[in-house]
Structures are given as structure tokens and as C-alpha cells.
């Protein structure tokens, strides 16, 4: 796909949304008091990083790196497969992190009857 005169807009929107997702996630992790929201922030930052990776791997006019019967023998450009494989790994690890973090949140909630970190006093020293 050739973006032509829209090249700049496409670049800004793809990279911009990815970086915005990362920053929103970091903001939630740093500012929010509710533990569930912190976990959501982690997931958001994760999603932003995945988007950034796949965007780096994209090249103009590239198809998915699959040698299906319709592209065998034809002169096609394919996108970089390495970031996609890395992102597949990262998604799975992100899932594992989210699941364990949520279970810790549940445990804390049951112990303190609140999911807000500023109300969990026993964490302070």
C-alpha cells in the first residue's frame, strides 16, 4: 500500500497512538491508587509496546510473511517477521503477568477489604 501524500499522517498516527498507549499505561501505573487500574495500566503499556514493534516491522507494500499458494513464485515484498514473532512471545508473557498480578490483587483485597493502595496501611514502614 502506498500512502502517498498521507505518509506523514500515517506515520504520526501509528507511532503516535502506540506511544500514547505506553504513556497512558505508565500514567495509570504511577498515579492511580486502585490496584485493578494499575494492572489495566500495565496491560495498556504492553499493548502500546506491541503496536510499536509491529509498526517497526512494517514495510511499504508488504504482505504477511506467509508463502501461501497465491504468493509462491510471485515477486512480493513481505514485512519483517522477527518483530511479529517477538510480539507473539510478548503477548503470552503479558497474559501471564496480568493473571498473576490480578491474583495478588484478589489476595490483597481479601486481606484488607480494599483494593486501594493508599488505604493498605500495613505496607508502609
Amino acid at each position: 500500500m502506498d500512502f502517498g501524500q498521507y505518509q506523514n499522517i500515517v506515520t504520526i498516527s501509528v507511532y503516535g497512538s502506540a506511544i500514547a498507549l505506553i504513556l497512558i499505561g505508565l500514567y495509570a501505573v504511577l498515579i492511580k491508587k486502585n490496584l485493578i487500574k494499575i494492572v489495566i495500566g500495565l496491560s495498556l503499556a504492553d499493548a502500546g509496546i506491541h503496536l510499536l514493534f509491529v509498526a517497526i516491522g512494517y514495510l511499504k507494500g508488504g504482505t504477511a510473511p506467509i508463502f501461501s499458494p497465491s504468493v509462491v513464485g510471485e515477486n512480493v515484498t513481505m514485512v519483517d517477521p522477527v518483530p511479529q514473532a517477538l510480539v507473539l512471545t510478548a503477548i503470552v508473557i503479558g497474559f501471564a503477568v496480568t493473571a498473576v498480578a490480578l491474583s495478588l490483587v484478589i489476595r490483597l483485597y481479601k486481606h484488607h477489604n480494599t483494593a486501594r493502595i493508599d488505604q493498605i496501611k500495613s505496607l508502609k514502614w
Binding site: 512494517y58 514473532a85 493473571a99 498473576v100
Partner: protein, 243 residues
């Protein structure tokens, strides 16, 4: 005060992210021409079909080139399931049996999920069996299968999952993965060597040697693990609020 510091920090981080991505143009060809391989990606694109006989390059990377990494990844998933179980473990009282928090759902949802369930499972199995031919693979297919089980867990309050069966499926899949890898060592090659099963013709179901077998094993393992996670998270009872 804290907000201002955080926003300043985020502005610095954002500035440097944006600044560094000024140099990486979106859509630029960084792979180099097919004749000279500048990057690893170009090497994979040029050699995957010939060396592994698999049409989907990403599958070849995940299962073959970086197969050891995938073994570690599956182990991380297993550890997450185990950790979840041990963190949320609760000793059951006498005569108390496991029961989920969800209420009995409506007749519409129950019937709908009963009809959809086999098709969702079928789609998941299709996705991981054809992981080396089409987009998708073990992880994606496993996630789809787990979605089917989630549907049933939401719709039916008394839907029971056989925990022994889940453990068996997961263990057998893991053993299959490791033993196929070890077989490469036994026959005198390297771990996960892809040479003792004929590679077949490109773009047919039986192609790629050990790659589809390993991806099917990964699919079963991921499906069992994700279903286990969902079951553990859904079977938590709400704590009584102490005033």
C-alpha cells in the same frame, strides 16, 4: 505535586520516544534487497521455505529457529497457572464443594453457548492444526479453545471442568514437546532438530517435519493452561466485608 512530577516524567519519556522514532520511518524497507541480507528478518524470509518446508515464516521462527525460547515461554505460562493456584489456594471446609460466584444465567445465553461451544472448539483446533499454513498457531488456537470453555463457564453455573484431565492434557503436551526436542539430540543432531521427519511439500497439511506436531502440542498445552486460569479466577468466593 505528585501529579506534576509524574506528568513531567511522562513528557520526558514521551519526548525521547518520539525523538528516537523520528529516525525510524514508518514503512521503510529495512530488510535490504533479497540478494544481500542485511537483517535476520531477511535471512528468515529467504531461507525458511527451503530449510524448514513451512509456509508461515512466523511459525518457523517461533517453533524452529526460536523453539527453545518457545519452550521457556510455555513454561512461563505453566508457572503462571501454578502460581495463580498457589496464591489463591483456599482450604475447603468439610462437605463444601467448589462453587462459582456467577448466578444462573438466562435461558438464551445457556442455549446459545451450548450451540456455539463445539464450533468454537472446532475453530480453535483448526487454527492450531493449520498453524504452519495460515495465520495463527498454537497460542492463538489455544486461546480460542479457552474462550469456548469461558463461554460455558459463564453460562452454566454447574459446568464442571475435570482438573485431572486438564493436568493430563497439559503434561502430555509438554512431554511431547520436550521428547520431540530430545529426539533430535538422540539422533545425533541438536535440540529440536528438524530433520528426522520428511518435510513434505510446501503448503500441504503434512509439511514442515516436526513443526506442526510441536505447534499442536503447544496448542493443547496453552488451551489447558488458559482454561485452568479461567477456572481458578472464576471460582473465587467474594469475601465477607468486615465492618
Amino acid at each position: 505535586m505528585k501529579n506534576i512530577i509524574v506528568i513531567a516524567l511522562l513528557l520526558v519519556v514521551g519526548f525521547y520516544l518520539v525523538d528516537s522514532f523520528n529516525y525510524i520511518k514508518f514503512g521503510d524497507n529495512r530488510l535490504g534487497a533479497p540478494s544481500d541480507e542485511k537483517t535476520v528478518g531477511a535471512y528468515y524470509l529467504n531461507n525458511t521455505v527451503e530449510k524448514t518446508g513451512v509456509a508461515n515464516v512466523i511459525t518457523a521462527i517461533i517453533v524452529n529457529y526460536r523453539g527453545f525460547d518457545t519452550l521457556g515461554e510455555v513454561t512461563v505460562l505453566f508457572l503462571a497457572t501454578t502460581g495463580l493456584g498457589s496464591i489463591l489456594y483456599r482450604r475447603r471446609k468439610e462437605g463444601e464443594h467448589e462453587e462459582r460466584v456467577t448466578k444462573e444465567s438466562s435461558y438464551l445465553l445457556q442455549t446459545g453457548s451450548k450451540i456455539l461451544f463445539p464450533f468454537v472448539i472446532l475453530l480453535g483446533i483448526y487454527v492450531f492444526i493449520h498453524g504452519h499454513l495460515t495465520p495463527g498457531g498454537g497460542f492463538q488456537g489455544g486461546a480460542i479453545v479457552a474462550t469456548g470453555f469461558l463461554l460455558m463457564l459463564i453460562a452454566y453455573k454447574n459446568f464442571k471442568l475435570g482438573h485431572n484431565q486438564l493436568t493430563w492434557v497439559e503434561s502430555l503436551a509438554g512431554i511431547t514437546f520436550v521428547s520431540i526436542g530430545m529426539w533430535g539430540l538422540i539422533t545425533g543432531g541438536t535440540f529440536l532438530e528438524n530433520s528426522f521427519i520428511p518435510k513434505g511439500t510446501l503448503n500441504s497439511l503434512f509439511s514442515g517435519g516436526i513443526i506442526p506436531i510441536i505447534y499442536i502440542a503447544v496448542g493443547f498445552k496453552v488451551a489447558a493452561e488458559l482454561t485452568g486460569v479461567l477456572d481458578i479466577l472464576l471460582s473465587i468466593k467474594p469475601s465477607k466485608i468486615k465492618k
